[in-house]
């Protein structure tokens, strides 16, 4: 008879707190919850706009509430965190070869930041123009 008795260790529910790498990953993934919330607030604003100037003004007033400002600050921080961590992982999904050599990680990451800067500037120009 077999005397084997392989022992299965259970994954504790707080596994993601056991190692900084996992914790950072969970924050990255978790950040999407607040970012989703932010998009919903924006979508709500568009909806209120369609209901007329008063509704729109009410939505704008809501945004000035201290709690709302705190929420937006938190969203900003997490969005930045998400962006930075995501950009740093971007090279793994890029299969770019130049003259038979794989493109190094650095230019790919920098490329992402450049793209971010350009879209931001374009968006700001559009906002300023209106």
């Amino acid at each position: 008879m077999s005397k084997r008795k392989p022992y299965e260790r259970e994954l504790p529910t707080d596994w993601w707190l056991k190692h900084a790498f996992y914790t950072k990953y969970m924050i990255r993934e978790g950040s999407s919850i607040l970012i989703t919330l932010y998009s919903l607030i924006l979508a709500w604003g568009v909806f209120r706009l369609s209901q007329g100037p008063e509704a729109w003004q009410a939505w704008l007033d809501c945004l000035t509430h201290p709690l709302s400002i705190l929420l937006h600050l938190a969203v900003l921080v997490l969005a930045l965190y998400h962006t930075i961590t995501w950009f740093s992982l971007a090279p793994k999904a890029a299969d770019l070869w130049i003259k038979g050599k794989k493109l190094e990680d650095k230019p790919i990451v920098i490329g992402h930041y450049v793209a971010l800067a350009i879209t931001t500037i374009v968006a700001l120009i559009i906002v300023a123009a209106y």
């Binding site: 077999s2 005397k3 084997r4 008795k5």
Partner: protein, 596 residues
């Protein structure tokens, strides 16, 4: 008792065993193959081979060159029929590996690239950067998965062969995880268990290289041949013994002593070749036995460098530059940084000779057949006559695939021509093995296993090292006899079944001691110096008249082995003086004048 019937049982799943298994599966898909290994196949020590595999590819090279390099490299103790077969099939087998996906390094045009290696007249060493063995092994393992007729027994330890009625009948295995025995009834068995470098304290070998197959065959009456020939690799890391490939020197690395002087030129390997150039068969590209002997000489003269890890010389790669080191020798850089804290881009690597390879092994003919019908042997555990008294670097990886295929084909044919014997006899023979194993596990001895292992390693270094004397070898022989006696009374504390590694170490130690004994006894009776067997007690010269022959060690239970001799097969190359460097060129010129 679980009895599993199979056609071909292969013990050992390194390069040789895997190649043999594939050969059987490809040519006879209807034959069942049991591929047995005490580890997962990709852990086998083939994985650690770095430099490459020899096979003629260049237009200005020839099979004759490869033949001559091998035979003279082996100090004319090679069986020349074996060498001829080997050089004829080498390139074909390496190409086969390429077809199976082995990532051999390429030239810009996409064809196979080759590098220079010690003792080879023309560059003919195929390489996969400096992980040639790793890539070969993984390619073979992965390819083997294609064949449904290959049934693997991973982490199954071979306790013994079964042989009766004048032939081999199978093997008894210990399922390491289960702790239970399985009996393999086989029509034919191929031994592919690798070398026995672990009988020495300082070696490049993995912990699993314990001479299992050699000892098992030896105990079943098959002689171990040429066991006195043990190769010291000239460039191992001090302390741990980890290998710094000969490819380092093939790419242009140099060896210097404490004065920064390239001492090899003082020992018939010169004149000095300018740094940054290489010249085949000169200086650092001399054969391993010679280079290891040079180290010893320098050590005697006080020219080596003292470190806390012992005396060393320096292997200097700095002039190759970072880019070339990263391309050709990335693993060397990784190992050197990790294990001695030296980045070869900036500093020379400390190195010393360490035991690397057993030229001898289970006696086979040129077709891998042993004298026990149905039993074949391939790879480092075998002595098929290829390496003689000193192996040339990069011949052994090729050997695995050339003779692996041969062994597979030969065994397949034998299996077709044979029937299984009645199970009752197998059961009875297996029961004896199991009883013996059970008795060992439950013995109540007191001797420390690790102490015996350590003393064995040390006495082998002292007595059967780079240079040998009658007195030193006799001391080793006496010590080994004592250790074998003590082994009868070893302590095994762990009596459990599941993954009991202490018990495995105990069985391995028994294998090691038998192999060591065969080495020492073969060595003391060879009263000459040839290849890796160098004596400094009045037998400094090669003696073809009396010793141009293979030694054969026959096991005698409870007694010292009996040593006998057999003829060396000589076809075209008559023994001549073995010279390297300028002396070799002078000799070639001389020969050309004579023939001219």
């Amino acid at each position: 008792m679980e009895i599993i019937k199979t056609d071909v049982a292969i013990i050992g799943a390194g390069g040789g065993g895997l190649r043999a298994a594939i050969a059987v599966a490809e040519s006879h898909p209807d034959l069942e193959v049991a591929l047995i290994s005490k580890v997962y196949p990709m852990r086998s020590h083939t994985v650690a081979a770095e430099g490459g595999a020899a096979g003629v590819v260049q237009d200005h090279d020839s099979l004759e060159n490869h033949f001559n390099d091998t035979v003279s490299g082996g100090d004319w103790l090679c069986d020349q029929n074996t060498v001829q077969y080997f050089v004829e099939n080498a390139t074909r087998q390496l190409t086969q590996l390429e077809h199976w996906g082995c990532p051999w390094s390429r030239k810009e045009d996409g064809k196979i690239n080759v590098r220079a290696f010690g003792g080879m007249k023309i560059e003919r060493t195929w390489f996969a950067a400096d992980k040639s063995g790793f890539h070969m092994l993984h390619t073979l393992f992965q390819t083997s998965i294609k064949y449904p007729s290959i049934r693997r027994f991973d982490e199954h330890f071979c306790l013994d062969l079964l042989s009766f009625d004048g032939k081999v009948q199978g093997a008894v295995l210990l399922d390491i995880a289960e702790g239970t025995t399985k009996v393999i009834q086989a029509k034919t068995v191929i031994m592919a268990t690798g070398g026995a470098g672990r009988v020495y304290s300082y070696n490049t070998n993995g912990g699993i290289v314990t001479g299992d197959g050699m000892s098992m065959c030896y105990r079943h009456g098959v002689p171990l041949r040429d066991m006195e020939f043990v190769q010291y690799h000239p460039t191992g890391l001090p302390g741990c013994g980890i290998l710094m490939t000969e490819g380092c020197r093939g790419e242009g690395g140099i060896l210097v002593n404490k004065d920064g002087y390239r001492y090899l030129q003082d020992y018939g390997l010169g004149p000095e070749v300018p740094v940054g150039q290489t010249k085949n068969k000169y200086m650092e590209l001399g054969p391993r036995d010679r280079l290891s002997q040079c180290f010893w000489q320098e050590q005697q003269k006080g020219n080596t460098i003292e470190t806390k890890r012992g005396d060393v010389v320096h292997l200097d790669l700095r002039h190759l530059g970072e880019e070339k080191i990263n391309e050709r020798l990335p693993f060397i850089r990784e190992l050197s940084k990790a294990y001695v804290g030296v980045d070869p881009v900036n500093e020379p690597i400390p190195v010393r000779p360490t035991v690397h390879y057993t030229m001898g092994g289970i006696e086979t003919d040129a077709n891998t057949a042993t004298r026990l019908p149905g039993l074949y042997a391939v790879g480092e555990c075998a002595s098929n006559g290829l390496h003689g008294a000193n192996r040339l670097g990069s011949n052994s990886l090729t050997e695995l695939v050339v003779f692996g295929e041969t062994a597979g084909q030969q065994a397949a044919q034998f299996a077709i021509d044979t029937k299984h014997v009645a199970v009752a006899k197998v059961r009875q023979a297996a029961q004896e093995v199991m009883d013996r194993t059970h008795a060992l596990l439950h013995s109540e001895g007191t001797e420390s296993m690790s102490a015996i292992r350590k003393e064995m390693g040390d006495t082998m270094e002292q007595g059967v090292g780079i240079y040998r004397t009658e007195a030193s070898m006799q001391q080793t022989i006496d010590k080994l006899a004592e250790l074998k006696q003590r082994y009868q009374n070893i302590a095994i504390k762990d009596k459990s079944s599941v993954f009991n590694t202490e018990f495995l170490y105990a069985i391995e130690l028994g294998y090691l001691l038998d192999t060591a004994e065969a080495m020492a006894h073969s060595a003391i009776l060879r009263k000459e110096s040839r290849g890796s067997h160098q004596r400094i007690d009045g037998f400094e010269k090669r003696d073809d008249e009396n010793y141009l022959k293979h030694s054969l060690a026959f096991y005698q239970a409870g007694n010292a082995p009996q040593i006998d001799y057999s003829e060396v097969v000589i076809t075209t190359s008559q023994p001549a003086e073995r010279v390297y460097g300028a002396a070799a060129e002078a000799k070639t010129d001389d020969a050309e004048v004579k023939h001219g």
